[in-house]
């Protein structure tokens, strides 16, 4: 057994906690998780059955923590997990799992299969079987501060750009601001319009806000690759930045996993409660709407539909806010089939879009989204995750579907009543 495999198996043993044991014990092999997974439904290949992707973890569980398994192992009836097997499983654990959580939701005995995949990824990463793309992203996130290699000068360049575009100064490192705005590298690199929308909305709402030079990045590669130490380091960076600036609320951007990583897992990762609140940008916007601080005018002409980012709707609980916000600017709105918490993943979550070798499979899996969109007849697709947005655009381009994809925050900003005052209509 190689040193790294030895460590990986040790980690897998540590990862098998009471929930994992109960999940393996209670699986009734019904196959419902297969029908919930886009990689299975769009390929028909049984190896993409979610519970099957966990086979190495199940074998370690059985051999280490069950009586029959231990006996079998002693008698040489069960072979230990090998490096070759883990390498063989790499595409199943990473390339074909977006951690979307649909399988967990449909499991009739309540097995959180995503939780199990995350635990398996911990062992895979330690044993040297994580994809190169995710290893690179994690390394850059820790060393540079961004999984995509974005440094502060690039952020400042975008700030300057947005200031030119909007005429609004972008605050940086303002101590005592109410909100600290995080971005994903995707937004810094590809979508400057997000920051522009934030600037305009905050101005209208009359709220103080700031970016943080030491913690501008929201994403968490540690969650995706399956290394809790990295995940904790990245969360701690944000906590330190927020506490240094003494902000009340940290706003997670239009990114799915960044939100769940920071809001729902972060305190456990760093081992203490935060001194500030964490909200997704859509929660903040809906809060502004409730307070009468978000004033819009006019409606989108085209038929719109909304793609729910998995980590927001299924694992994050942000379900109603995007719909309430969309109603402010769209009369002509249609839901996809399986909307909300049962929505199908774009195919690029959970780090999959960072894995080059997963591209062909991802585009195959996109067929489910293609079908959903074709059923609606929508002319514009709105979403609230920069990664979803690019994966959707690539899928639509691949299948020659001419549907523009836009972010919800910028869509709201497009309809802002600039210089809003009381006489303007408020919806």
């Amino acid at each position: 057994m190689s040193a790294s495999l030895d460590k990986g198996i040790s980690v897998l043993k540590e990862m098998i906690d009471a929930p994992i044991a109960s999940y393996f014990s209670s699986c009734v092999h019904c196959g419902l998780c297969a029908e919930a997974c886009l990689f299975y439904t769009e390929t028909g290949d049984p190896k993409y059955t979610p519970i099957y992707k966990l086979e190495p973890l199940r074998r370690v569980y059985k051999q280490e923590y069950t009586l029959l398994g231990r006996l079998g192992k002693m008698l040489g009836l069960f072979k230990p997990v090998t490096d070759e097997e883990l390498e063989e499983w790499k595409p199943l654990v990473y390339d074909s799992c977006t951690l979307c959580g649909r399988c967990s939701l449909v499991c009739p005995v309540g097995n959180d299969i995503v939780y199990m995949v995350r635990k398996l990824r911990e062992g895979m990463a330690v044993s040297g079987h994580a994809p190169e793309g995710l290893i690179g992203a994690s390394k850059r996130a820790v060393e540079i501060g961004s999984p995509m290699g974005v440094k502060l000068p690039a952020v400042k360049a975008q700030m300057k750009h947005v200031q030119q575009d909007t005429g609004i100064e972008i605050p940086l490192d303002v101590v005592g601001a109410e909100y600290m705005v995080l971005m994903s590298s995707m937004e810094i690199i590809n979508f400057p319009e997000y920051l522009g929308a934030i600037a305009r909305i905050m101005k209208q709402a009359g709220k103080s806000w700031t970016l943080c030079s030491e913690a501008f990045e929201a994403t968490n590669s540690g969650i995706q690759i399956g290394v809790s130490d990295i995940a904790a380091t990245l969360v701690q960076r944000i906590v330190d930045g927020a506490e240094k600036l003494k902000v009340k609320t940290v706003i997670s951007p239009e990114c799915g996993h960044a939100y769940t990583a920071l809001r729902w897992e972060g305190p456990n990762l760093v081992g203490r409660a935060y001194s500030f609140e964490v909200l997704h940008i859509l929660e903040v916007l809906d809060g502004f709407r409730n307070e009468g601080l978000l004033k819009t005018t006019g409606f989108e002409d085209e038929l719109l539909t909304f793609h729910d980012p998995c980590q927001l709707v299924r694992r994050g609980g942000v379900l109603e806010q995007p719909r309430t916000l969309l109603k402010m600017v769209a009369k002509n709105y249609v839901e996809m089939s399986d909307p909300g918490k049962m929505n199908w993943c774009c195919g690029g979550g959970g780090g999959v879009s960072a894995i080059e070798e997963a591209e062909a499979l991802r585009l195959t899996a996109f067929k489910v989204k293609k079908t959903q969109l074709e059923e609606t007849g929508a002319k514009t697709l709105v979403t609230a995750c920069a990664n979803c947005r690019i994966v959707l655009e690539e899928g639509l381009e691949h299948y020659k579907m001419d549907i523009p994809v836009v972010g919800l925050t910028e869509t709201i900003a497009k309809h802002l009543v600039e210089g809003a005052s009381d006489e303007h209509q408020q919806r």
Binding site: A137, M148, K160, S185, E394, E397
Partner: protein
């Protein structure tokens, strides 16, 4: 009139009607076209500059530019190649020029901003900081354009 700042620039652009908006937007994209070797963008810009271009030709040009734009996105988790990212913003500038106009939109201003982002990406890629003179170049382009 010599345009020398963004206020004058924006005001002058705001006075241009649809076709002229498209034509000047295409010129802003053309100013950064050297950052991109994809011939589809040059063809699209040539279409956008023509006053007699047909609706079908514009739609075809838009589709070409859109394909370049999508191809040149930096995907989540990938190490950003700022030269490729410059191509993306050149494509975005072309798209701004070709996009069907919406009430209140300013295609030429949008194209100008994307072109500036493209130049910024080039500077980052070259390790030259982020400051650049694309805005000044756009002032000159617009000044000349308005003389015609």
């Amino acid at each position: 009139m010599n345009i020398s700042n963004d206020n004058e620039f924006k005001a002058a652009l705001g006075k241009l009607a649809g076709v002229r908006q498209r034509q000047i937007a295409a010129r802003f994209a053309e100013s950064v076209l050297a950052l991109c070797t994809d011939h589809r963008l040059k063809t699209a810009i040539d279409s956008a500059k023509r006053a007699d271009v047909t609706r079908d030709e514009l739609a075809a040009a838009f589709q070409s530019a859109k394909a370049v734009s999508v191809d040149s996105y930096t995907q989540c988790g990938h190490d950003c190649n700022w030269n490729n990212q410059a191509v993306h913003f050149v494509a975005q500038a072309v798209l701004a020029a070709l996009k069907p106009a919406e009430p209140g939109s300013s295609p030429a201003w949008d194209a100008a901003m994307h072109a500036r982002m493209a130049r910024t990406c080039e500077r980052i890629a070259n390790g030259d900081g982020t400051d650049n003179t694309e805005a000044a170049a756009q002032y000159r382009i617009l000044t000349e354009f308005l003389k015609v």
